[in-house]
């Protein structure tokens, strides 16, 4: 018999530097963490709406002896993992060998930041070599490795790079590992820091970034709205502690939710154009894995990036996958407030989904005023709607460039 998987801890980097609880409360109120982000970066200054964790200081939290070998995406990831670890009742100072606990991490960009800094130094300042630690700071599995080293985790330490599905895949694969009896506990999540000159310019080149200035940036991300104008980049990290149900019960751990189902598939049609057929299949597979019916799902935390093509495709997939239940299905995209964290988006949205189940509220899609007719057919949750809801089952969708879909199904604990 397959084992049940409990969520016993969650943690994240609050972009405004308050707390996880503060972040969740703002998310439920539909308050945006998106601000105008500008730099006088050469050769062309940056001016975009973005979620920048301005108050995050890894040196202060972790100490310079740790952070000297950590890129910003690793620093954020380790901090989020530490918070989740403590939230689950574990001790971050216990470094004893734990062969039954591992790490499963997602990042789309990894240590891109350190390499961009290095290229600048070499090409603009004539530096011959890069600091040797750049090698271990830039590798995609750096964050996973540091979490394992800091906490003494001897089970598998794996990193998944699946564009915007990275963290969801990491969480799902961790779930499978526990479910199959290969680990008792897994630290799962993701981190990414895309606010880098080259990365921003590349996304800008794709013409999918929503514009905005000081005044309009907080409302720049408008998923499913008729006036939506593209996605908003965000940096950050989030982590969950996945634990074998009986293991959690035995140590009297708090069980926030059950991770009951997961699916991973591929559209195999186009690198960037989403395909509802693949998304429908991913949702159905995840529901089958959770052994629940479509009408049992109360809330969907949508991928909802606010791009012109992506949003209607996802809603079409929901309409088909959920049939007559779709019109009663509460749907929101919390990217409207926390932006698109790239490979970490699935982690922060999974944490929000878990906290929503626990609190009995559904977060809204901020800035959703007039639903695009192409996005109709589900129960969109807007800021002024009644958000109280007894959520028995909820889904978090992540649909990535490359056609890789990951769907997670969470249930209220019982």
């Amino acid at each position: 018999m397959k084992r049940r998987v409990a969520i016993t801890g969650v943690g994240l980097i609050d972009p405004l530097g308050v707390s996880m609880e503060g972040f969740f409360d703002r998310t439920v109120r539909g308050e945006s963490s998106i601000r105008h982000f500008s730099t006088q970066d050469i050769p062309v200054p940056i001016s975009i709406p973005a979620v920048f964790c301005a108050s995050f200081n890894g040196d202060e939290i972790l100490g310079k002896q740790r952070t000297i070998v950590m890129d910003r995406f690793t620093q954020m990831g380790v901090c989020a993992a530490f918070d989740a670890w403590k939230n689950a009742g574990f001790d971050i100072n216990d470094k004893s060998h734990k062969p039954d606990i591992g790490v499963s991490w997602g990042t789309a960009l990894g240590g891109t930041r350190i390499y961009e800094q290095g290229l600048r130094e070499m090409w603009l300042n004539g530096r011959e070599r890069l600091p040797p630690v750049a090698v271990v700071m830039g590798m995609n599995n750096a964050c996973s490795s540091h979490i394992a080293i800091q906490l003494g985790l001897g089970n598998s330490s794996l990193t998944y790079t699946v564009a915007c599905s990275s963290a969801s895949a990491a969480i799902g694969e961790a779930y499978r590992r526990i479910r199959n009896g290969e680990a008792n506990v897994m630290v799962a999540g993701g981190s990414d820091t895309p606010l880098i000159y080259g990365v921003i310019r590349a996304w800008d080149g794709m013409r999918v970034l929503s514009p905005g200035d000081e005044a309009t940036s907080p409302n720049a991300c408008r998923p499913f709205d008729k006036s939506r104008s593209g996605l908003v980049l965000g940096e950050g990290a989030a982590a969950l502690i996945l634990e074998d149900w009986d293991h959690a019960i035995a140590r009297n751990a708090p069980i926030l939710a059950e991770l009951a189902g997961y699916s991973s598939n591929c559209d195999h049609t186009n690198l960037v154009k989403p395909d509802p057929t693949g998304q429908i299949a991913a949702i159905s597979l995840a529901l089958d894995d959770a052994a629940i019916k479509s009408e049992d799902v109360d809330y969907i935390n949508a991928h909802g990036t606010a791009t012109i093509e992506g949003d209607p495709s996802e809603i079409e997939a929901l309409r088909t996958a959920f049939g007559t239940h779709a019109k009663d299905l509460a749907v929101s995209s919390t990217k409207s407030t926390h932006g698109h964290l790239m490979g970490a988006s699935g982690a922060i949205e999974a944490v929000i989904t878990v906290l929503s189940i626990k609190a009995g509220v559904v977060p809204p899609t901020a800035n959703l005023i007039e639903v695009d007719p192409a996005c109709e057919g589900v129960r969109h949750i807007k800021v002024d709607d009644n958000k109280k809801m007894n959520i028995k089952s909820a889904i978090s969708n992540s649909f990535a460039f490359g056609g890789s879909n990951s769907v997670l199904v969470f249930k209220a604990p019982k």
């Binding site: 002896q65 000297i68 070998v69 040797p132």
Partner: protein, 79 residues
């Protein structure tokens, strides 16, 4: 007057790793200060950067601050 190699090392370790200057003595163990082999390579790189010199690869594996300074000192600027 130029700083001694120990003073330079004390400043570097404080700035880069947050290690208090008084803990950085010639007898201090690198391991006790939390300086592993990767960090030693990084520190040599910092010295090269600071003094615009190139320190050749060496098979010596220093275990104390004093031994590390012996590798660096020939390349430090003279008064």
């Amino acid at each position: 007057m130029n700083k001694t190699s120990l003073e330079t090392m004390q400043e570097l370790l404080q700035e880069r790793l947050g290690i208090e200057k008084e803990k950085v003595t010639t007898e201090a163990s690198l391991e006790d200060l939390g300086i592993d082999s990767l960090m030693q390579i990084e520190l040599l790189f910092d010295f090269e950067d600071k003094f615009k010199v190139k320190i050749p690869d060496t098979s010596t594996r220093p275990t104390t601050i004093g031994e590390l300074l012996k590798i660096i000192e020939p390349f430090m600027p003279k008064d």
